[in-house]
């Protein structure tokens, strides 16, 4: 192993993928004892740049220098040997193995070919004690929470002696409190002379944790500033290339009947164990009900149960007073439910279908688009052209395969299809996940527009900003239950964070 990393530079990095210039002569450097933030929208080239540093991709041009010496990093093994560790956004853990097995993976054992997990467990406990990241070495990864899994990833890197830790969107899956703990941990690590590169698109997080910020836009470096000399507005401008549109919405109060009522809903997950344990809530016409929570606490199953995609074990779902609990998806659609699913590409559309086909998916058998068993091409074409124009779907033509569109444009297509059908209730599951700021703003406007037209909107999201900004009321999901439903005025970040972690603020007060 080489000497400790005092300074790491990446110079003139160029990486092309078919049709995309992902990194265009990017220079960055980071020194020991420093947290560097790589800020940028999705597709700006942050992850590509770090995958090059970790040896997963090879740069088409450019060089990497450690302590001034050029190094060839052509595999993750090489990166590990250089003292670089990376925690990927999607964890690289084997769920069926224990924590210590995951850590030992790929490492030589003291007993030659025989596995020797005892010293590994001991080191894991030591590292845990040093950094305050304790996990049980004998636990299976599938038993761990997402936050604990992230700790395993960090331990994996530290175990291999990482001097430089790269973290890709580390807080995306954490509750606000867990994110706070992570920031403390990262500060401890740099205080001991390590360095950290954190990839993020969240401005407040970058402001909170980093010493310096490099902003990437369309594969190019759009700016570099010391965190102390900048503010979120300036960073947003660098990231998007224009000022963010100000957005505000007055929360309203509703009374009267709910358009969608859910009573004591119980649903199982794919493993056959309970995902929802008695959920009751309602949404009024014209209201936006936000559903907050760390993903995996039943939100997905909730959306699927309402839209008829998942069997309801017990409880009731009523749409404008009619029971839809055991209806088929088609019956539920016809009764007036619109659905923007979590997986927009594979559930929301059929990626290999052309755009007009996807726009028509729910109406292809209805007049005026069908005459008997035949499709009426002229009507369909006129209708599709209008939707593409109205919703600003950027596409060469109506015959383009939907899967070739960007995420933002696919979401526009789905919004166009769902909203023009004028449903009574619109369920939107993580509608802005992975979208850039411009596309997310558009989705927000359309959801607000839908509520103004009298639709009841259910917005499921893990982005607290988004839920707080758009909702009239917020329901917090934890472990298949609703912790609390709050008017948005009472839903500050701290309260929501505690509820998302399964604690009621009162509990916390008595415990503290």
């Amino acid at each position: 192993m080489s000497a400790r990393i005092q300074k790491l530079e990446m110079r003139g990095i160029v990486k092309r993928f078919p049709g995309v210039l992902s990194n265009d002569h990017v220079n960055i450097e980071v020194s020991a004892g420093e947290v560097l933030a790589l800020l940028g929208e999705n597709g700006a080239g942050k992850t590509t740049l770090m995958n090059i540093l970790y040896g997963l991709y090879q740069a088409d041009a450019g060089e990497i220098l450690i302590n001034g010496e050029p190094v060839q990093i052509d595999s993750p093994r090489m990166a590990i040997d250089c003292g670089i560790g990376m925690v990927h956004q999607h964890f690289m853990l084997v769920p069926t193995l224990t924590v210590s097995e995951n850590v030992a993976l790929g490492l030589p054992s003291e007993k030659g070919a025989l596995l020797d997990l005892e010293p590994v467990s001991r080191r894991i406990v030591e590292i845990g004690a040093t950094y305050g990241v304790s996990v049980n070495p004998d636990a299976y990864v599938w038993q761990l929470s997402v936050g604990e899994q992230q700790r395993v990833e960090i331990i994996k890197a530290l175990y291999r002696g990482a001097d430089l830790l790269v973290m890709d969107e580390p807080t995306a899956v954490l509750t606000p409190q867990e994110a706070q703990d992570l920031i403390v941990l990262l500060r401890t690590m740099v205080a001991q002379g390590r360095s950290v590169i954190i990839i993020s698109h969240k401005l407040h997080e970058v402001m909170a944790v980093s010493d310096r910020v490099v902003v990437l836009r369309d594969g190019k470096k759009a700016g570099e500033v010391a965190t102390g000399d900048t503010n979120p507005e300036e960073l947003a401008r660098m990231m998007v290339g224009r000022d963010a549109r100000p957005f505000s919405r007055e929360a309203r109060q509703f009374d009267g009947d709910c358009v969608l009522c859910v009573e004591e809903l119980c649903v199982n997950n794919n493993m056959g164990t309970p995902a929802l344990r008695g959920i009751s809530l309602g949404v009024h016409p014209g209201e936006i009900l936000g559903i907050a929570g760390v993903s995996g606490n039943g939100q997905k199953e909730f959306a699927e149960a309402i839209s008829g995609l998942r069997t309801v074990e017990s409880g009731k779902v009523l749409l404008s007073g009619q029971e839809i609990t055991h209806c088929t998806p088609k019956q539920i659609i016809d009764k007036g439910l619109g659905f923007i699913p979590e997986d927009r590409l594979h559930v929301g559309t059929i990626p290999s279908f052309q755009i007009w086909e996807n726009l028509l998916l729910k109406d292809h058998a209805e007049k005026p688009f069908a005459r008997g068993v035949l499709l009426s091409e002229k009507t369909i074409r006129a209708h599709s052209e209008k939707l593409v124009a109205d919703y600003g779907i950027k596409t060469p033509d109506l015959e383009t395969q939907t899967g070739k569109l960007s995420g933002g444009n696919i979401q526009r297509l789905i919004l166009a299809r769902e909203i023009t059908r004028q449903p009574k209730v619109l369920v939107a599951a993580y509608p802005t996940r992975g979208l850039d700021i411009g596309a997310a703003e558009y989705v927000h406007e359309m959801l607000v527009q839908a509520s103004r037209e009298g639709m009841g909107v259910i917005l499921i999201s893990e982005e607290l900003d988004e839920v707080q900004k758009l909702s009239d009321r917020i329901a917090v999901f934890f472990d298949g239950r609703i912790m609390q439903v709050l008017p948005v005025a009472q839903a500050d970040e701290k309260t929501l964070g505690l509820l998302m972690a399964g604690l009621t603020p009162d509990n916390q007060a008595t415990a503290g």
């Binding site: 090489m78 990166a79 193995l97 790929g106 596995l115």
Partner: protein, 311 residues
């Protein structure tokens, strides 16, 4: 007197079952390795046929069953490597390339047989080897310790593979690569390398399984002599939940049912012959339908690994 006869039948039935289990056990343990590494090798039947032929042919030419078995193992390994090249390096759809490999093995073994042997020929073959001491124990000896040595090897392979999978660093990597190949890749271990190793080892075992039929059991070769045993072995991997012990249980269940129907026929018991032949398959299907406990099939099974593409 009748008591002795009944006892003899029971001993014969169990001994036959154990002998019949051997090719299934070997092939299924090999397939378990392939699938544990994330490759669904549907070409098992073809590999077994090639092993069956090359084992038979080399024994026929050299008069040495041991050389024959060695040839079968090498042939199986080469067939496994071919499967690895197509499915790992070229990233072809595994189900289709497996069917291709099965057809190739079937066609080639039949062709070579007609070209180089032509007609039914008998070979010296492998003799049973009674384990000294153990083989002399009454009842148990003839049941378990009076077989040819591949039987002992196949049964010893069960704890051996269990040990390799769960107690060695290589085994840890194999268990990981079929589940989360990206975790293995980012820890600096070659995903392709592991899959090649598992497919070659799996092929070697399948080749030996095929040769067991020709060199040890029947002492002859006939076109399509495996008669679907490769596919049964694949089903046994699912039955055994990718565990050596589970596969042992499945192989024994299937072959005991098979042995039972054989003996029913031999003894001329008045029972429809067609029903008897179906018995092992029905038992297997019923056993596959009953699920117990939590199952973790290799999550990456059947998916070629590409960096940067999420499973």
């Amino acid at each position: 007197m009748t008591e002795g006869l009944e006892q003899g039948i029971l001993i014969g039935m169990i001994a036959t079952g154990i002998r019949l289990a051997t090719p299934y056990l070997l092939a299924a343990l090999g397939e378990m390795l392939s699938q544990r590494s994330g490759v669904f090798n549907l070409g098992l039947e073809g590999i077994m046929l090639m092993g069956a032929f090359s084992g038979f042919y080399i024994t026929y030419v050299s008069q040495s069953p041991l050389l024959g078995l060695l040839a079968a193992i090498v042939t199986g390994g080469l067939m496994g490597m071919l499967m690895a090249f197509v499915s790992v390096t070229l990233q072809a759809e595994q189900g289709i390339s497996g069917i291709g490999l099965s057809m190739l093995g079937w066609g080639l073994s039949g062709l070579f047989f007609r070209l180089y042997v032509d007609g039914i020929q008998s070979i010296a073959g492998l003799k049973a080897w009674k384990i000294p001491g153990l083989g002399d124990i009454p009842i148990i000896g003839p049941m378990f310790f009076s077989h040819h040595f591949i039987v002992y090897f196949a049964f010893l392979l069960v704890p051996l593979l269990w040990f390799v999978l769960f107690r060695t660093t290589w085994g840890l990597s194999v268990r990981a690569v079929g589940m989360t190949p990206q975790a293995v890749d980012t820890m600096g271990v070659s995903v392709s390398g592991l899959r090649y190793q598992c497919l070659i080892l799996g092929g070697m075992l399948a080749g030996l399984a095929g040769a067991t039929l020709t060199v040890a059991n029947t002492h002859m070769f006939a076109d399509n002599i495996t008669a679907g045993r490769g596919f049964i072995a694949i089903a046994l991997v699912y039955f055994g939940r990718w565990s050596p012990w589970g596969i042992l249980a499945g192989s024994l269940l299937f072959s005991m049912a098979d042995s039972f129907q054989l003996w029913v026929q031999v003894l001329g018991i008045n029972f429809p012959y067609e029903m008897a032949v179906m018995l092992p398959y029905i038992v297997t299907i019923i056993a596959l339908m009953i699920s117990f406990g939590r199952v973790w099939p290799p999550a990456a099974l059947g998916k070629p690994y590409e960096r940067g593409v999420r499973g």
